[in-house]
């Protein structure tokens, strides 16, 4: 057997050992992170101004300062790989007229690449309400990376409530949206 073969095998083994060491250390990091994650809240602290994050609109437009939108807003965190999020899209898009009537803004905050987000929102009016942020910024707003998650933020950027879509606060929000729709229809 050629010496070249032995060098090749030894080289592959050395890389294999290095990779396995690195993976063991990464697994320790992941375990440490998971232990810390247990104490982490799903949303930024309520009653405080949300972290200052500049977001890029998916479609053309200026960057937006999420803590200083100047209007009460609903921030939504959906993922294209969560089947539940896709089912929610029509319902959420249906709230847009009511929200406008009530003087509220709705923004969908995502960390996904633009092409993936465009595909997720194709044919939905929510595409005009989508904002992109970096992974670090996303985790400041949504520390446990939960989805579908919402944050209600007032005009000063203070977090009023937040949680998973479908919880108690969200249900009362749905109720309000229905009432606004009924009033609009009556008018």
């Amino acid at each position: 057997m050629e010496i070249g073969v032995l060098y090749l095998v030894l080289g592959v083994l050395a890389f294999g050992v290095a990779l396995s060491l690195r993976l063991s250390l990464a697994a320790v990091d992941a375990a440490r992170h998971l232990a810390a994650a247990r104490e982490r809240q799903a949303t930024p602290p309520p009653g405080e101004v949300i972290p200052a994050v500049m977001a890029r609109p998916l479609q053309a437009g200026p960057r937006k300062h999420l803590a200083g939108l100047g209007m009460p807003s609903v921030l939504l965190f959906l993922s294209s790989t969560c089947p539940k999020c896709r089912q929610k899209l029509p319902e959420l898009a249906g709230y847009l007229p009511q929200l406008e009537a009530a003087g509220l803004e709705l923004w969908l905050v995502s960390r996904e690449p633009a092409w993936r987000l465009r595909r997720f929102l194709r044919g939905s009016p929510l595409a005009q309400h989508a904002l992109r942020v970096s992974m670090r910024e996303y985790k400041e707003l949504n520390p446990t990376m939960g989805s579908p998650l919402y944050l209600f933020v007032d005009e000063a950027g203070v977090l009023q409530a937040g949680g998973m879509i479908g919880d108690e606060n969200w249900q009362s929000f749905q109720e309000q949206m229905r009432e606004i729709e009924e009033t609009r229809e009556a008018a």
Binding site: M1, E2, G4, V5, Y7, L8, V9, V12, L13, G16, L19, R22, L23, A26, A27, D29, A30, H33, L34, A37, S80, T81, P83, R86, R116, R119, F120, M135, K139, M145
Partner: protein
């Protein structure tokens, strides 16, 4: 025996191990693979019920064929190349056009196909093509010690490739907890 010939044998065995792992994974969780075939790839349920065990069996046959050596291996290499190329093309097309693509190609967890899986498949295709290009003469005159050595290297390659997505996620995102 040259280093290139040794590598060709190791890569052939890697493909064999990956095919056996894929076949075994699908065999072990037949329902999951069958459901993914209908849900993601639009195969009719009745056809999927036949196709799922058929694909698993074809992978196992090719896997064993690759171990055999000689002309049988060359034929199995060509078959494996075709199979991986077709599967990768279908999965890549779905990945580019749909949000959630579930494959359970290795009978793995219930996760969506990622770009890393496609990179992995491309690497496997390149490896098989390399092995095929060097021909059956590659394993000629290989001692049994060298064969065992090639098997060991192939096992390392196969484990890294089969778990490529998990490995990359762990290396990139362990600190951020997105694993």
């Amino acid at each position: 025996m040259t280093a290139a010939a040794f590598l060709a044998v190791a890569l052939r065995m890697t493909a064999a191990l990956l095919l056996l792992a894929a076949g075994w994974g699908k065999w072990r969780t037949p329902g999951q693979f069958r459901d993914n075939l209908s849900a993601t790839f639009g195969v009719k349920p009745r056809l999927a019920a036949v196709l799922a065990p058929g694909i698993a069996a074809a992978e196992a046959v090719l896997g064993f064929g690759l171990f055999a050596g000689g002309a049988a291996s060359q034929a199995a290499l060509a078959g494996a190349l075709l199979m991986f190329a077709v599967f990768t093309a279908v999965v890549a097309w779905k990945y580019a056009t749909e949000d959630i693509v579930k494959c359970s190609c290795f009978g793995d967890a219930d996760r969506s196909v990622s770009g890393f899986d496609l990179v992995r498949n491309f690497a496997i295709i390149c490896g098989i093509a390399f092995s095929l290009a060097l021909g059956s003469s590659a394993s000629f005159g290989m001692s049994w010690q060298a064969t065992i050595c090639a098997c060991g290297v192939a096992t390392l390659f196969a484990v890294v490739l089969a778990y490529f997505h998990e490995i990359v996620m762990l290396l990139l995102y362990a600190k951020e907890g997105v694993v």
